[in-house]
Amino acid sequence: MFTDAFWIILTGSLVAVTSGLLGCYLVLRKMTMVGDAISHAVLPGIAIAFLISGSRSSVPMLIGAAAFGMLCTVLIELFHKKAKLQEDASIGISFTWLFALGVILITYFADKVDLDQDCVLYGDITFVNFETWQNVPTAVWLLGGLFIVIIAFIVIGYKGLYLTTFDPDYAITLGVSVTLWHYLLMGAVSMTTVLSFESVGAILVVAFLIVPGATAYLITNKLKVMLWLSAGLGITASISGYYLALLLNASVSGAMVTILGIMFALVFTFKVVGKKIFPKKQLILPVSE
């Protein structure tokens, strides 16, 4: 009924919108590199889940990846807070270590783990239609489910996320747990990374996490507008990225990221040039509802 193109674009859009929404919070919380770290660190979790379950079924993979995503954030916290290592180095050490472990597991058990290294880097979105259930690709079912969960998380948790993002001190006085929301967000990021993994790979999902949110943040100071914008940018990039990839006969996810990059560059140049032409004194307002 639907073409491959439709499913590929839909999959890309689901990944882009879900991660773009979460990415807005990462950008505002200055935690984008933690998102980057998590997306690398889930690799050993996925490999171990593969080894134990012996299949590509999603539940063990989700659990394994979420566990290692959490382990990575905990490691970063421990290095930073307990061992007083500066934050950038804590992040750098933690994720390279876990990623190295993941690559070792995948190459060593190559005959048992059906994941190749390229897939780790840029995913297999082109083959999304290979595995279907009720005529709908499995990936779309999973990403659709994730999409609903994340939307629910953001809608229901809007106040909590909002407070802990912009004014953690005030949140504490209101009795809102900053740590709880931190780990909920990190859990959501881990889940998104894992489910996006097969489609766009471990590293490109970082672009989907960071770039739409960052671009939207350049355009607006309002959180709600920012969330909508990032979703819109993600969908635009998925559609045009697909056709760019078709044109070049190259990786779809790579093309989607390239389009995201071009969109950011356009907005950025426009902003900078605009400021040069109309150098009015602008107050940088804090983001508000």
Binding site: K30, A83, F99, A100, I104, T107, S251, V257
Partner: protein
């Protein structure tokens, strides 16, 4: 064990290339990485590493060659460009540096993947080597690769030796460096350029993702052993070299094991061990020192309270648990632990109806009380602090003051008889 000696003898030319190559890589990346680490630019190294991919691919598309120097040239250009982009974004927008780094890193990498797959699917036969830039191919080092790494190492070491003082100042105190008239921007440019060179040279050994570890992890491990920059650089290089050799050995005995990731694993293991156990700065030695200090404080506080009780009740020496707890609130666990230590040290004796100070314990309790009251005197007299504000401060300092400082206090205050609260200072 036999395989180990075979490995060490370096008789196999393949092993020789890998070991020499990794040592050279360790030297250059750990040296330059130490400065990146100190400047808190660890993630910048990560950004550079990801950003060399589009450069390699572009160079390949434009010049249609697999000549290493051409590809590295491309890598160098985009690696460098990425840093400029990060700089532009942070300077001209409200985005913070972490977002800028993540953004540049992932977009450059995405473009790199686009180009790489474009090359692969165009069916060009010569493209087979490009994949190595993603995950590295440390196990299949070529003499040409060694030459490149050697050249880069020599350049980096020469530059660091010549500009050692300048780089040091730039890393620790850029404002001061500017104030004394150093060309800070140019030096920063040089340092960045060297980092890009180290990354470009190392990338095909360990791959884009793990290159960041080669830069930061050895420096982070070295930080826990020393405060001297020179020693830190040498240690970082040493750690990188040890990690590299063990990593190369692991993949030598089992060729299913990938070399690059094992090297990173080993260097990370060294870093984690250093963070945990390095003397003085490690987590465990620090924890032990703190515990010891807390125990000392607990003991001294109890001795002091017993002394106070003796003061208040002339002639009485044995005090029951309830009397002691009334004087100073303690958790029962603290109480038990404290008295256990004091009894062991023969400062307190346990009696049927309670505890009493031994002679040594009495001297010690007197000493703490004396220091406490002298310090209160000092604060009120010399620093003009109100008498009701000085107790807390004295509580803390009484455990720290040495006999020498105590003597000075006595001289300065001319051996006062009473403290601000009219209590007698015992000598």
């Amino acid at each position: 064990m036999n395989s180990f000696f075979n490995f060490l003898s370096l008789s196999d030319p393949n092993v020789l290339f890998v070991v020499v190559g990794m040592i050279l890589l360790g030297i250059s990346s750990a040296t330059i990485g130490t400065f990146a680490f100190l400047q808190k630019r660890a993630l910048t190294g990560d950004a550079i590493a990801h950003s060399v991919l589009p450069g390699v691919c572009l160079a390949f598309i434009l010049f249609d060659t697999r000549n290493l120097w051409v590809l590295l040239g491309g890598a160098f250009v985009t690696g460098w460009l990425s840093i400029i982009c990060v700089d532009l974004i942070t300077r001209h927008s409200k985005l913070k540096s972490d977002t800028a780094i993540g953004l540049v890193l992932s977009v450059f990498f995405g473009v790199g993947i686009l180009l790489l797959t474009f090359i692969q699917q165009s069916g060009n036969a010569a493209q087979s080597g490009l994949n190595n830039f993603l995950f590295g191919k440390a196990a299949a080092m070529h003499p040409d690769d060694i030459k490149t790494m050697g050249a880069v190492s020599i350049i980096i070491i020469t530059a660091v030796v010549i500009f050692y003082k300048e780089f040091k100042l730039l890393s620790f105190d850029p404002q001061y460096a500017q104030a004394v008239g150093l060309p800070v921007n140019k030096l920063q440019l040089l340092l960045t350029t060297l980092t890009v060179a180290a990354v470009a040279a190392g990338i095909q050994a360990v791959g884009v993702v793990l290159m960041a570890a080669m830069l930061i992890t050895p420096a982070a491990a070295a930080k826990y052993w020393t405060n001297k920059l020179r020693v830190m650089i040498l240690l970082a290089v040493l750690f990188a070299v040890i990690g590299s050799i063990i990593g190369a050995y692991v993949s030598y005995i089992d060729n299913k094991m990938p070399t690059g990731p094992w090297i990173v694993m080993m260097i990370s293991a060294i870093a984690v061990l250093s963070i945990l156990f390095a003397p003085k700065k490690g987590v465990v030695p620090k924890y032990i020192t703190r515990k010891k200090y807390l125990h000392k404080m607990l003991r001294e506080n109890i001795l002091k309270e017993l002394y106070h009780l003796e003061e208040k009740n002339p002639g009485k020496h044995i005090f029951s648990i309830s009397e002691i707890v009334e004087e100073r609130e303690m958790k029962s666990r603290e109480f038990k632990q404290g008295f256990k230590m004091l009894v062991q040290k023969d400062l307190v004796v346990k009696h049927l109806s309670g505890y009493l100070l031994t002679e040594a314990g009495q001297i010690e309790g007197k000493r703490i009380t004396r220091i406490h009251r002298l310090w209160e005197m000092y604060l009120t007299q010399q620093l003009q602090i109100q008498g009701d504000h000085v107790h807390e401060d004295a509580e803390a300092i009484e455990h720290i003051i040495t006999p020498e400082i105590e003597l000075k206090l006595i001289q300065l205050l001319e051996k006062p008889e009473k403290d601000p609260h009219e209590k007698i200072i015992p000598y």
